[in-house]
Structure formats: structure tokens, C-alpha cells
């Protein structure tokens, strides 16, 4: 008999709040974390991005530790995990997953063998794990922009395999010169705040955040149930998505088959919506192929920017609040449909009872992940 798996705790550290409640308040007030940045160390010219305030971060961190030698990303991750790990017993049946694309990549800015060591993702995971005293080998998921939601799927699968009973996940990435320059070289960065699914959208706005959840086999205090997942590759191109959305289509199908529900039962989709021309178009095609074109859908990239390895988990945490608070949140940045097939973009905050919600993500390398969640009775 395969175990049932739940998410019982959530938290996030973002430019619009250092806990879930603060984030929801700002989302309800349409307050975005995206601002015009003037930071010559990151980019020669001003650019839009969603960046955590350093003074606020350091002040918050000093309340839980006076140790100085954590990197900025580690502080953000520890802050996200802290309230949800605090009371827990960490034993050999408690797993720890860290999701990131580039981790402490800023360590490479001063090349030395000591700094190369700092850039190792297993070192990042160890630094965070040791703060809390996790007893098991950290697992790092580094799978481009699906990492955050893939980590949820991996945690569920490991609990079903009975390797663990509980799994803590932290997901995070920073806005760095490394990533900004890279997206620029791909001509994939928007000169204005991103406009997911909109006409004349022209690329991503980068962001940074961390998010944490506890995935558990115990139903007590569960916020949501994880009922199906799929992570299928497009097998098309390493940087451009499949024109038919094949991998995303199959990932959602796999999740539906496992959950044993139909597409017409899905109440809300938290999609990827990076605002590149290709990604948003691909999603619209995949959703239409599945008959999901009327399901209310949003992208949260208008609030947070694209937070890379954090995005899948952060957006899931907000999606869980949508279910718990019976609210659909606006797809900020959207103004006029700009994809070739119609989808039902949420254009204002509104009330809705949500029983089943679908989280999707896609990323470089042709990866896609879809996870289905069900409201806990």
C-alpha cells in the first residue's frame, strides 16, 4: 500500500516578506518585489530585478545567530528553514533536500581553490544542514528552473519508498552577475518588469528568494496533500522548449494518472510563466492540448521575478495559501493575451474554493515538472 504524503509546514524569505503572511499581504495589495536596481557590481546599466534587502536580511539573521561566516544565500536559506525545523526531532528517517541552480556561485568571483570549495553545492547543503543538526546525508536537487518543485516530487517519492518519514526542503538562488550576464547573452532579459503571457512580452526579470517546506507521511496539521507528479523531458533542444509542449504535457498526464483525477477537476494552475516568448507560448499549447484552457492560471513571476531554483517551491508555498485562504491571486504583469492559444489568466484577486491545484515548471535542458495537490479534508 503506497503511503500518502503531505506538506505540513511552509515558509519563505523574499523581497516582499520574511514569512508567508507578509508575502500574502503584499500579493493581495499587488505589491511586487521587482524594482529598478542600480548595482554596478551586478550590471553596468540599471536593470529590473527582485532583490532581498541586505540590511533587513542581516538584521533578521542576527536574531537567530551571531555567526558571521555564512554566505548571503546560506543566511536566506537558514532563515527560511528556521521556524519550521525549530521544534522537530531530526533523526535518521528525516531527510534534507536543498534545491538550487547556482548555489554560492558568487564564490567564483575571486578565484582560488578555497573559493572553488565554497562553490560546491554539497558544501552549501552541509553548511545549512549542520546549522540545524540534520542526521542524514543532504540531497541536492540541481535541475535548472524545475528544481524547487522537483524537490517536492523527490521528497514525496522518497517517503513513498520509505527511505524517510519526513523530508525538509529548502530552495534558493541569488541574483548574481553570473546569472544576469548569462540571461543577457541569451537576449532573454526584459528591459521592463516581466509580462507573463502578454503581448509584446520580451523576457524574464530575475529575482531571488528562499523557501522551505516540511513534507511528511503524517497527516496531522497537514496543509495540503501531494497526489501526483511527473518530470518528463521534451527531448527537443537544450535551451528552447518543445513547440508542442510535449514534456510538460506528459508530465501533467503522469501526475493526473497517478492522482486518478481528470483535467476537468483541476481548480487552479500555478504555472511557470517566465515571460519569454517561447516558454509562455509552449505552456499555452500544452494546457490547451490537455483541455485546461479554462482553468484559472497565474504566473507569480510578476511579484517575485524568476527565482530559478527557488521558484518552484516558493510558488507552491503561495499556491498552498491560495487553497487554504480560498483565494486566487492576480497574475501580476499581465495586460493583454499574447499567446496563440487562449488560457484563462487570473486578472484580479478573487475568491475561489480550490480542491485540486496543479503546479508546473519548465527549464533549460528540456526539463518539465508537474505536481498535483489536493486540499486536506
Amino acid at each position: 500500500m503506497i503511503r500518502e504524503v503531505y506538506i505540513t509546514e511552509t515558509n519563505c524569505i523574499t523581497p516582499i516578506g520574511f514569512d508567508v503572511a507578509a508575502n500574502i499581504k503584499n500579493i493581495m495589495g499587488c505589491v511586487s518585489g521587482i524594482q529598478l536596481q542600480h548595482n554596478l557590481q551586478l550590471m553596468k546599466t540599471p536593470f529590473y530585478a527582485s532583490i532581498v534587502n541586505n540590511e533587513e536580511l542581516n538584521m533578521a539573521f542576527s536574531k537567530i545567530s551571531l555567526t558571521e561566516n555564512y554566505t548571503r544565500l546560506e543566511k536566506m536559506m537558514i532563515l527560511a528553514l528556521n521556524p519550521i525545523v525549530k521544534e522537530s526531532k531530526l533523526d535518521t528517517k528525516t531527510g534534507f533536500i536543498l534545491s538550487t541552480t547556482k548555489g554560492n556561485i558568487t564564490a567564483l568571483e575571486n578565484p582560488s581553490s578555497a573559493n572553488f570549495k565554497k562553490a560546491y553545492l554539497s558544501q552549501l547543503a552541509k553548511n545549512v544542514a549542520d546549522f540545524f543538526g540534520f542526521k542524514t546525508e543532504p540531497i541536492v536537487v540541481s535541475n535548472a528552473c524545475v528544481s524547487g518543485i522537483l524537490a517536492v516530487s523527490v521528497a514525496k517519492r522518497l517517503i513513498q519508498s520509505e527511505m524517510f518519514d519526513n523530508v525538509f526542503i529548502v530552495a534558493g538562488d541569488e541574483v548574481s552577475e553570473f546569472v544576469l550576464s548569462g540571461f543577457n547573452s541569451f537576449q532573454a532579459m526584459s528591459d521592463l518588469p516581466c509580462k507573463p503571457y502578454s503581448k509584446n512580452r520580451n523576457g524574464v526579470t530575475l529575482g531571488e528568494a528562499t523557501s522551505a517546506v516540511l513534507v511528511s507521511s503524517h497527516k496531522k496539521n497537514a496543509k495540503i496533500k501531494i497526489i501526483g507528479d511527473g518530470s518528463i523531458n521534451d527531448a527537443n533542444h537544450i535551451s528552447g522548449p518543445s513547440r508542442t509542449g510535449e514534456g510538460l504535457f506528459r508530465s501533467i498526464e503522469s501526475a493526473l494518472a497517478e492522482a486518478k483525477i481528470n483535467t476537468n477537476q483541476i481548480d487552479y494552475i500555478s504555472a511557470h510563466g517566465t515571460a519569454t516568448s517561447f516558454n509562455d507560448e509552449m505552456e499555452a499549447i500544452a494546457f490547451n492540448r490537455l483541455g485546461l484552457e479554462n482553468v484559472p492560471v497565474n504566473s507569480l513571476k510578476g511579484f517575485y521575478g524568476h527565482t530559478l531554483g527557488a521558484s518552484g517551491l516558493l510558488e507552491t508555498v503561495i499556491g498552498i495559501q491560495s487553497v487554504l485562504e480560498r483565494k486566487l491571486f492576480i497574475s501580476l504583469g499581465f495586460y493583454e493575451i499574447g499567446v496563440s492559444q487562449s488560457i484563462n489568466i487570473i486578472e484580479k484577486n478573487e475568491d475561489k474554493n480550490i480542491r485540486y491545484f496543479l503546479k508546473t515548471a519548465s527549464g533549460f535542458g528540456g526539463c518539465n515538472t508537474a505536481v498535483l495537490f489536493e486540499k486536506v479534508k
Partner: protein, 205 residues
């Protein structure tokens, strides 16, 4: 947990200018750069896939190991559902360092998209999927060292929940001229039980 046993069906090891397939050396050359070695392997096995030369070291390593295991596998079955579960210690660090160099000199600042795209470890999975048209489950993990317990649990649950018929598992480590690929195919039939001890022994050969 698993009532359904799984089996290691074949293994490919690549290190020190040598490729060993199911215990037999199928290529061994005099010590040389990985670039040279991988080119010789490409020619030796008639790969015939020009995109190979656009790949970075990690992708070439993963690609070659998978090529040898999947070549016969995919020929024999029309439909296949082979998941890819790969891991390493260094992520894409070798290419990260190369990319960082390209943005360090502000007077000569020309970030390369062709290098940047390989600064994610899962790109190698994309390359393998494209080559073999595998529309299947895939994920990339980072560990301090090869983690057989995790690999067994994760690949078994994929097969048990019918998310995959077989799983191609890999440890593909590539950084600063040092490389090791330990790639193996796991399925529901075979002679060698998919166990931690077996994996450890094979990995350390």
C-alpha cells in the same frame, strides 16, 4: 520496502582514458586530455552526431557512457520508458569556472551563450534525451560522493510506481581534467541484484 526486486543489467565505467563495458575494456588509449580521449571514443564507436562537439566536458562524458548502454537497448524495443537519474559532486563547476572567466575581464566582456547554457548539470540529461528521443523522467542530484542508497531508493520507486520501465543511473563527475563516469542500467529482470554492496563494489573497481 520493495517487494519487487530490480536488477543491474549493464554497466559502463569511464575513467583514466579507458572505457569498460560490462567488465570488458572496449577502449583504452595512452594518457591524453579528455578532449582528445572523448574524440577518439566518438570516432571509435561511430557515434556520428556532430552536436557532440558543442557539448562541454560533463555532457560529453555523460553522453558517451549513456550511448554505449542505450545503443543496444533502444534498438530492441519500439516503445521505451527509460528514466535518467544522474548525480555528481561538482555539478557543472568546470564550465562555471570557464564562464566566470569570460565575464571577469571588464575590458574584454563578451559572455558566451554557448558556454552559459552548460552551466547547469542537468543539461547533460537533455543531450541524452535528445539523442535517443527519450521523453522520460529525468533528474540530476548533487552529493559529496556516489550515494548508492539514494540511487537505489529513487530508481526503485520510479519503477514501482510505473513512472519508468527501466532507469539509467549515473555518477558523472567532471572537474578540472579529472573525470569518472559510472553509469548503469537498472530493470526488473537480470542476473545481478540491484543492491548497495554490488554498486559499491562495481563503482570502486
Amino acid at each position: 520496502m520493495s517487494e519487487n526486486k530490480t536488477y543491474i543489467q549493464s554497466i559502463c565505467m569511464i575513467q583514466n582514458n579507458e572505457i569498460i563495458l560490462d567488465g570488458k575494456t572496449i577502449l583504452k588509449i595512452e594518457p591524453t586530455s579528455f578532449s582528445d580521449f572523448s574524440k577518439k571514443a566518438y570516432q571509435n564507436f561511430d557515434v556520428n552526431y556532430p552536436k557532440f562537439f558543442k557539448m562541454d566536458g560533463l555532457s560529453k562524458l555523460a553522453f558517451l557512457g549513456s550511448e554505449l548502454l542505450l545503443k543496444k537497448e533502444i534498438g530492441e524495443t519500439k516503445e521505451n520508458n527509460i528514466a535518467l537519474v544522474f548525480s555528481n559532486k561538482s555539478s557543472s563547476l568546470d564550465t562555471d569556472v570557464k564562464y566566470q572567466k569570460s565575464i571577469s575581464d571588464k575590458e574584454n566582456y563578451f559572455p558566451s551563450p554557448a558556454v552559459f547554457v552548460y552551466t547547469l548539470p542537468n543539461i547533460c540529461l537533455g543531450e541524452i534525451c535528445i539523442r535517443h528521443q527519450l521523453r522520460s523522467e529525468n533528474s540530476f542530484f548533487i552529493f559529496e560522493a556516489f550515494n548508492p542508497a539514494f540511487m537505489i531508493n529513487y530508481s526503485n520507486i520510479l519503477m514501482e510506481t510505473k513512472k519508468a520501465d527501466k532507469v539509467l543511473c549515473g555518477w558523472v563527475e567532471y572537474f578540472d581534467k579529472e573525470y569518472k563516469a559510472f553509469i548503469y542500467l537498472v530493470g526488473k529482470e537480470g542476473d545481478f541484484e540491484h543492491k548497495i554492496e554490488t554498486l559499491k563494489t562495481e563503482y570502486n573497481k
